[in-house]
Symmetry: C2
Subunit: 205 residues, 2 copies
């Protein structure tokens, strides 16, 4: 059986949501990321989630690969467009933006120690990071094409964006009143049964 | 006609190589990134390349979307696997890794000012960044499955990796003698006619 390795509260939440949305026959297994004896180190030498392990032992990593792969297991759900289409390319473009810009811009905010060995630099690194995160969320607010990122249909890109909206809420990073589209998207995201089930599973001990 | 906007020497080189590899009917247009009057600001509000503008005026951004889109225009060239296949997912995983890990880890090295407003921090940020870049290239060296990233067949992920090998060479970031697989891959990359043509076009004034 295929297994999806997740760490509660991490960016693997998007893949977890897709497994629930699409009711895929995939076992979801929680792992601790920082424990030296965590099974994740056997699965992914980079020690990161999400990781998808197939029954032949091969492993797929990276959200921008796992999320499209999961969506393509049930194309009729249309969480990603048909191959070669611009619809698909637009969703993939959002995945790339969220992955390479938004996710990485949160790193200086949450883990300034990755950017300097001198703790005296951390406040400046965090402050600069927060301004970049704000600018990126404002770009999303301006660019979203409907209730969801690419219009009125929920896509794998929205499943991924939801992770960062939860993080922004938890870290009090955003002035939600100035972001009406993102606020509505977040409300609709939280209302999805798949999101609610995934959260319950991740929060259970 | 579809237009690909590139900036010479930037990460848009990968898309440029694919246009040549696949002999796609796409016009390649060079733009200046930092000039205030550059046409890129009309095409992409984030001011970034690559950007692919279709004849109806819609624009696609992000390498992790553009590179698969280009490959899917000529599936018979097999630069990406069939939709839903693990072969495709593995290439997409490398694209995600290069996009979100390697590319972003080069930022502190090349642009420390993005991480702190205090110039006194830049040396520490650059030094930390260089160590992370080295670790990521070592991970690639260990993980490449053949001459190319996913085996003996050149893929869109290799087209993308080549960009960072050129950057690493230019910035003297790597000890090539300790990276035999990456050295061989880089040599094979530079020998490809499409890479040579793309370089000549980008270097011409």
């Amino acid at each position: 059986m295929t297994t999806l390795y997740i760490a509660p509260g991490s960016c693997s939440f998007a893949a977890h949501v897709l497994v629930r949305e699409l009711e895929l026959p995939i076992e979801v297994q929680k792992v601790a990321l920082l424990a030296a004896d965590s099974p994740i180190h056997r699965i992914n030498p980079l020690g990161k989630v999400p990781a998808l392990e197939f029954d032949d032992g091969t492993v797929l990593t990276e959200n921008s690969a796992i999320l499209p792969y999961l969506a393509d297991q049930k194309p009729e759900a249309r969480l990603l467009g048909p191959v070669g289409s611009r619809e698909r390319a637009r969703v993939q473009s959002w995945l790339g933006f969220l992955n390479s810009e938004l996710h990485t811009s949160l790193r200086p905010v949450n883990r300034p120690e990755r950017f300097s060995d001198d703790a005296a630099h951390f406040d400046a690194i965090r402050a600069k990071g927060r301004r970049q995160v704000t600018a990126l969320f404002e770009h999303i607010e301006r660019s979203a094409e409907g209730l969801w990122l690419t219009g009125e249909r929920f896509s794998v890109a929205d499943a991924y964006l939801g992770v960062f909206l939860f993080w922004a809420e938890r870290g009090k990073l955003l002035d939600w009143a100035s972001l009406p589209k993102l606020s509505a998207l977040f409300e609709a995201y939280r209302a999805r049964p798949a999101v609610q089930v995934a959260r319950q599973v991740e929060q259970a001990s």
